[in-house]
Symmetry: C2
Subunit: 96 residues, 2 copies
């Protein structure tokens, strides 16, 4: 199944940046990073439950939010992109 | 129809923050801001074309990206939220 994951976090703090890097690392196991905090994951339901559990551990539930959008099988025709190219990885240089 | 709009912009620059505020202002005419740069809009196709044209004017196409996800009529069962509450408006205080 295809799940769109949007992660809202304040990246003006070091802790926020770190959490975004950790969330990205988990999501990128299952799909691509289409924007800085938006991930499109192709994942089966069992693995998705594990991914959700990991993300719940990483996030700060009082400050951050995660939204999951279940896009179904015909998801490719549901998406349109405008502007700078997808699959950015602007955090990569920060990973040590 | 329901369109999810995700806007990728560098908010560490003043210009980026300004563009995000302008995009948010347009999107909030048609729906709600569910994360800092994620908007859920209920909009008819004719108005949506106008909205897209406005956003294309506001964005910096070389630096920013916008993705549109067409979620269809049964969109409410496609969405799951975790963490801090939706419908934030953290930019509001910056608008002058």
């Amino acid at each position: 199944m295809m799940v769109l994951i949007t992660y809202d976090v304040n990246t003006e703090t070091e802790d926020g940046k770190k959490r975004l890097r950790r969330v990205a690392k988990q999501c990128q196991n299952y799909g691509q990073r289409v924007q800085n905090s938006v991930f499109e994951c192709i994942i089966d339901p069992a693995l998705f439950k594990r991914l959700q559990a990991k993300l719940a551990e990483i996030m700060n539930k009082e400050k951050d939010s995660i939204r999951y959008y279940y896009l179904g099988d015909d998801w490719k025709k549901r998406v349109e992109h405008v502007g700078a190219k997808a699959s950015i990885d602007i955090e990569a240089t920060l990973i040590v």
